[in-house]
């Protein structure tokens, strides 16, 4: 590969960039042709909406269209930062997302380490098969399962509560409990699946390290602490950056499938708010501004995280 590239440059030293580009395209025209549909789809379905963000700076009216609607500058952003709705939605988003990070980010790491310690392969495979499964269910199905099991009318959990002399709780209707329901069900659905990344990371650790540690008499606990954990630290950091970049995505699909007007106050997040106000009330410009706020901050968070990770851990997402 390298050699042929070098030969090309020697044989045609005076050609400009575009001339070389042209000869490359002629030689591999079919590769470029394969790439074309993907690029066109990207331009149409991903980049056109990015251009559409401009309506956040206009008073968009669907009948006038994009170009005829008047520019209004930062009007919608001013409204955003003074609106009570937005303050509430931002607060909910951050609370739910942080709860999920605190409770659900470390869990797969711990579980992956524990899974790794299972010596009976049949048991291990069975456990893995079972705990990966919920990942493949839709949020609608998961909410169906839990609406049922948490209901006040014959739900298993409430039966247990009543059995121990407690009051039944309408988990899906109770503003005190609804966020816990969101976190717990997200944990139920994704914890098993999230272990895969860490299990993959274990396989990259040099087995000789464990051999050496055993000869030195290190217990399993010390091996976990001094070999396994440091071995997967880069992956943990990477996953954490990705998670932080998504901090404004508190789980829109999940919440839309689970919430109802009685718990809007504690569970309306940016994504659900944009859905309800944007499409429901056709408040296009304002909700685009809300969505843009979410995208821009998320983007900055990911870039920052990646920069820090490259600087201190010499490993980034790209």
């Amino acid at each position: 590969m390298n050699q042929s590239a070098a030969n090309q440059q020697i044989s045609r030293p005076h050609k400009g960039y575009f001339a070389t580009l042209w000869s490359d395209v002629r030689k591999d025209w079919d590769l470029y042709l394969l790439l074309l549909p993907g690029v066109l789809f990207l331009l149409l379905f991903k980049y056109t909406p990015m251009y559409g963000i401009l309506i956040a700076f206009k008073d968009f009216n669907i009948f006038d269209g994009m170009s005829a609607s008047p520019w209004v500058g930062f009007k919608h952003f001013e409204k955003l930062f003074t609106s009570d709705d937005f303050a509430l939605v931002l607060k909910n988003t951050l609370i739910i997302s942080l709860l999920k990070i605190v409770f659900l980010f470390p869990l797969p790491i711990v579980i992956a380490i524990m899974l790794n310690e299972l010596k009976n392969m049949i048991f291990k495979r069975t456990v893995q098969t079972v705990i990966y499964l919920p990942h493949f269910l839709s949020w609608v199905i998961v909410s169906g399962l839990f609406i049922d099991i948490l209901s006040t009318n014959g739900g298993l959990v409430n039966k247990v509560l009543v059995h121990f002399g407690m009051e039944p709780i309408a988990f899906f209707m109770d503003t005190d409990y609804f966020r816990s329901v969101l976190v717990a069900t997200a944990g139920w659905k994704e914890t098993g699946w999230s272990t895969i990344v860490y299990l993959a990371a274990f396989s990259t650790i040099d087995p000789q390290l464990y051999e050496a540690a055993k000869i030195d008499g290190a217990s399993r606990w010390r091996q976990i602490w001094h070999i396994t954990l440091p071995g997967i630290t880069p992956i943990i950091v990477l996953m954490f950056i990705l998670r932080l970049g998504n901090i404004f995505e508190a789980g829109t699909e999940q919440i839309l499938a689970m919430y109802n007007p009685t718990v809007y106050k504690v569970s309306d997040v940016i994504g659900t708010y944009v859905y309800r106000m944007g499409l429901g009330n056709q408040d296009y410009s304002f909700t685009t501004a809300v969505g843009m706020f979410e995208s821009v901050i998320g983007f900055i968070l990911i870039l920052t995280g990646n920069y820090l990770s490259r600087k201190y851990l010499h490993r980034g997402i790209w």
Binding site: F45, D148, I149, L256, G278, Y284
Partner: protein
């Protein structure tokens, strides 16, 4: 911590003991027991909601309404499943979902693969820029409203293609396939070239057959995505005859239980089945396809995910 462990490993190297490895210490044995108990409980917790749901779907109306069904059906009947499977609206939504899953999976797998292949060739000029262009869309997006307005302008709202066209190139899956292609030996391509094969021939007759495990994995991911998607349908589809199953189910679930009532399925009053059982049966029917393919595909997708995640 060198109590019982070290002798067998170091001193008795000459005497070949049948047991390999080191005997666990007491804390280790306690941990092992704890570990097995923990994962047994975790497995049960994962399966419990299903068992409960199956029991409800198979129980009689009286038993379900009085709330006495736990993990075993009471007043066993199959009428609920019969009822759901005969409901025209439910079956229509299922047909829509099957169509979406089949067409969506085939098209997106094809599109994603042909996009991944050129990008896996280091000699492709401009590769870096193309890659950057793709990856950027993972980090930043126009958001819901501008995307909706685009679909509106393209007259895709309330049509089925809106549910698969925009999903045809999935950047994350593309990167997984690309890294798999990059792992194929260069010599294969070179020898095929010497035999006069062009790029397309190499892709379809050499690279693709060698990539079946990763393609199967990605196909599964796409299939699960299209089968499970309700969000896009909720945004773009209001015509009842075009609603896929997940959206249909969502409306069915929110229509009763702890929520307010609003008939989606027309339950015949004379029928010996409760709305709760009907919901339960519908959920089970929607889940069965995944439960059926899942164990067979597991070995593929785990391998596929590992390829993708380790390379990142």
């Amino acid at each position: 911590m060198k109590t019982a462990s070290s002798p067998s490993a170091v001193s008795v190297a000459g005497k070949s003991k049948p047991k390999t490895g080191i005997r666990p210490t007491l804390p280790e044995r306690i941990f092992n027991v704890f570990n097995y108990v923990f994962f047994t409980l975790m497995g049960i917790t994962t399966l419990l909601p299903f068992v409960n749901l199956i029991a409800k779907s198979l129980s009689s109306e009286a038993a379900v309404i009085s709330g006495i069904v736990n993990l075993w059906p009471i007043g066993f009947q199959l009428g609920t499943y019969k009822f759901v499977l005969q409901d025209a609206a439910f079956m229509n939504s299922m047909k829509i979902s099957i169509f979406l899953t089949a067409v969506g999976t085939a098209l997106s797998l094809f599109m994603t693969t042909i996009t991944a292949y050129p990008l896996s060739k280091p000699r492709l000029r401009g590769r870096k820029w193309f890659l950057l262009m793709f990856i950027f869309t993972m980090l930043f997006s126009g958001g819901l409203i501008p995307t909706y307005l685009l679909m509106h302008k393209l007259h895709l709202v309330n049509t089925l293609p809106v549910l698969f066209l925009p999903a045809m190139v999935n950047v994350y899956n593309m990167l997984i396939i690309k890294s798999y292609f990059e792992g194929l030996p260069d010599s294969l391509e070179e020898s095929a070239k010497l035999d006069g094969a062009g790029n397309l021939r190499i892709l379809f007759f050499i690279a693709l057959p060698l990539s079946l495990p990763v393609l199967a994995t990605i196909a599964l991911f796409f299939a699960v995505y299209f089968w499970n998607d309700y969000f896009n349908a909720m945004i773009y589809i209001s015509n009842p005859s075009l609603k896929p199953m997940q959206l249909f189910l969502k409306e069915l679930l929110l229509s009763s239980g702890d929520f307010m009532r609003n008939e989606t399925l027309n339950v015949d009053a004379a029928l010996n089945t409760s709305p709760q059982s009907i919901q339960a049966a519908s959920i089970m029917i929607a889940t069965v396809p995944i439960l059926l393919v899942y164990p067979f595909l597991q070995k593929y997708f785990v391998k596929g995910v590992l390829v993708g995640s380790v390379k990142g």
